[in-house]
């Protein structure tokens, strides 16, 4: 596990609520739609946490702006982590 993955998982647990994740181990393959069924309010809360932690370079809206419907449907925690890692300068990681 990378540090970014650990941090993103922690944010998701906080946004969703630990008690709702008893049957689910959140990892890189966890999908936002099928597995987490993240609601719009929760997406907004996650996006705020990402900006707070990683700064303006990590813009969740920009991340999904290039995706088609099937990509959005299949979007996983690992996809988001890879996006964040690619945007952060090597020094910051």
């Amino acid at each position: 596990m990378t540090r970014v993955l650990d941090e993103v998982v922690a944010m998701l647990v906080e946004v969703v609520g630990e008690d709702f994740l008893l049957d689910l181990e959140v990892g890189p393959d966890t999908t936002f739609n099928d597995d987490l069924a993240l609601e719009s309010i929760e997406f907004v809360a996650l996006a705020e946490k990402l900006q707070l932690r990683y700064g303006p370079a990590i813009d969740f809206a920009a991340f999904i702006a290039d995706m088609d419907l099937d990509q959005i449907l299949a979007m996983s925690v690992g996809d988001l982590v890879a996006h964040i890692e690619s945007r952060l300068s090597p020094a910051a990681v």
């Binding site: 739609n33 309010i41 702006a65 290039d66 088609d68 419907l69």
Partner: protein, 420 residues
Amino acid sequence: MNGRSSKARRVRVPSLLGDLPAPDGRVAGREADSGRRRFLFVVPPLTGHVNPTVAVASELSRRGHRVAWAGHTPTLEGLLKPGSKIYPAEDEAFAAHVEQARRHWTTLRGPAALKFLWDGFIIPLGHAMMPGVQTAIERFRPDVVVCDQQTLAGPVAARLHDLPWATSATTSAEFTRPLAGMPLVEEWVRDQIGEFQLDHGIEDLLDLRFSDHLVLVFSTAALIGDTSIFPDHFAFVGPVLGRPPGNDFPWEWLDEDRPSVLVSLGTLNGPAGERFFQVAAEAVKDMDVQAVFVTPPGTLPDPPPNLLVRGHVPQLELLERMSAVITHGGHNTVVEALANGLPLVVAPIRDDQPVIARQVVASGAGLTVRFARVRAEELREALHRVLTEEAFRSAADRVRRSFAEAGGAGQAADRLEKLT
């Protein structure tokens, strides 16, 4: 496709010098000079999409015009006034398929629900309705076709018959461009609409969600946000309240001196809906409110004394006695609440509901909470705030006034008359 009747009913290019009297003294091209026109409403088998057309149609009838519907006959019979003219445009085999599709739909949320809305509902419904809508146009010979935003057969058949057509937008979500942040998804939706037209022989493609003659939107800028960007043929007429008369209600249960809240989630939300009602019951049980929950009584077998569970309610009359509303954000319920100046707590589930929830928050008239994972304290705090903080009530009242000024069914009828 473009049969005999299209020639007979072709809209004429208006004469520069006005209409010359025809030999028998009638104004050419019109059904005598009585000013009476014929309006065909093309609707999907969805209650919330049919109800507003009932109010608009009854205003048109009151003015002496003739109205008819094309759609799923059994659904329409339950919602229209007795004796309304219905042209069947959905056979029972397809209706059974739709019923199944709806059950599947309610298991989906977010982008999966959007994909299914188009792939599994709007497009197949459009194809299935085409023959019936064509026949309805040939038999009823409307002057104008009023098309629900989700029935693509309406605009396509109207265009094939060269008839003016109006969009009936029973939710205002499309007017805030909810997919603007996902351009590829927005394009995918437009592609679905384009292919549908090509399948039926139309090559001059339009976005069928927005008529180029008239778009009726049953809301106003006070809720939607800036509407000045839209051309003049977009008419923001405010809500038209077309719900059929409601069921009995034990009015004596309501204490005039206590705040009252209506909790309603629409229909068919399965176990997640049941959980929401249980959490909501937990949230209100120690509050000084009376709550009316619209859900089958089995959902809450042992409700606290300040909670009344009813399978159905006369919603329009009941709203006049309420102080706030908790809802999933169905457009009709939201605008009906706001038409009474009631603040809202919105727990959006799918489709346009998150968009409508954002409109409510942006207008200042309410708050939004989670649906599937909402907690009792989250809901209690949101309800407490909308009931006690004056800002929510005054924002809701601002929307109420804007709705009242928008003209509703009368304005919709004025705009429809101008199309002929």
